[in-house]
Symmetry: C2
Subunit: 199 residues, 2 copies
Amino acid sequence: MNNLQRSAQTKKSIMEAATSLFARDGFESTGVAEICEQAGVSKGAFYYHFESKEAVFLSLIDTWLNTLEITLNDVTYQAKSVPEGLLEMAGMMQPIFENNQYFMGLFLELWTHANRNEKVRQATVAPYRRFEETFTRLIKRGIEEGTLENVEPEIAGQLLLSLSSGFFLQASLENDKGNWGKKLQESIEILLNGMKRRN
Amino acid sequence: MNNLQRSAQTKKSIMEAATSLFARDGFESTGVAEICEQAGVSKGAFYYHFESKEAVFLSLIDTWLNTLEITLNDVTYQAKSVPEGLLEMAGMMQPIFENNQYFMGLFLELWTHANRNEKVRQATVAPYRRFEETFTRLIKRGIEEGTLENVEPEIAGQLLLSLSSGFFLQASLENDKGNWGKKLQESIEILLNGMKRRN
DNA sequence: CAAAACATAACGACCGGTCGGTATTTGGAG
DNA sequence: CTCCAAATACCGACCGGTCGTTATGTTTTG
């Protein structure tokens, strides 16, 4: 393996280990030594690639939010009609609710630190704004295509984002992660009912 | 001052200091020594009244959630009609958004630890369930009084709770805390529009 | 051989919790 | 009311351990 591949592999190992540990135990409760052990590297390698523990956190926030954003955009673009797209999106969240053990932990960790650490806040706000804009565009599209009416796109976009976030919060409390996708769908149906054109 | 008053005062000082510090810096990043300093008591006094740092956290979760519950119940009982009550409630959250510096931090701290610590989870789930029931009852009342229709009370209750939580999350990200009460009101109007009886 | 990539040990700061001792209050006996 | 011992409330130095970070040395690559 050449230096480039070796470097990349080490960095990847560290970030994966950090992701799972931050998600499970939180940033403060996770030690650098612990990360190194799980990644199978030494502290020397760790501090060769990252200048601090915080730097790892910021780095994985970045990649994680990017992945989220790409996924979100994919779904919204492929939808036939806006109401269908929203319901489909809600259904797609079910696997996240039940399978992805990391998601909730990281989600909360990210938010907590965004509220305390200015760097984290900045790294979080920007993508979050884009999420909001994506939702807002979706609503505008719905109005244009005639499936929605009588709503302020900005308000409805924010409403959708808040609802999604709130559902993640609520689902994280429950041990039984089943059926949350379905519950979110039903909530969105009520919402759509408030925004839909009447025949 | 007699022993009872003295004891109560010390305990109160510790809990107030812990509340503000946990809210600002988080549970892990707040030292017992720091709490003691801000409370104006010694470590001896601290460990005389609480068996551990965690015990303080659990204790203040309890009092905080109780206060929240009482406030929530007050608002829902006093409302004339359900839609009016919901809108009024949303408006009442504005001061929380902008004034209460502690609320957001504690809210996030509570949720983060509920996801990791089983004791905290249990202390959180129970009141949260009651919040949900309160909302559900409110929806049922709306159906009975004829201002709402065509909704599953359980779904709508959960929807309202998720939306509120999501709004707190979103507002915590922003530096400008103004107008969030108004935004929540407009969101609830859309919601009500999806649940309201048509004339 | 030089540079990049990694390993190891050690450092200094800090943390939650303990413990022997001290000040204050209490309740009853004189 | 005074005295005093027991109970209560509090103090602060200290301990064992952990933490993030760094300095120095070693291996691997170009």
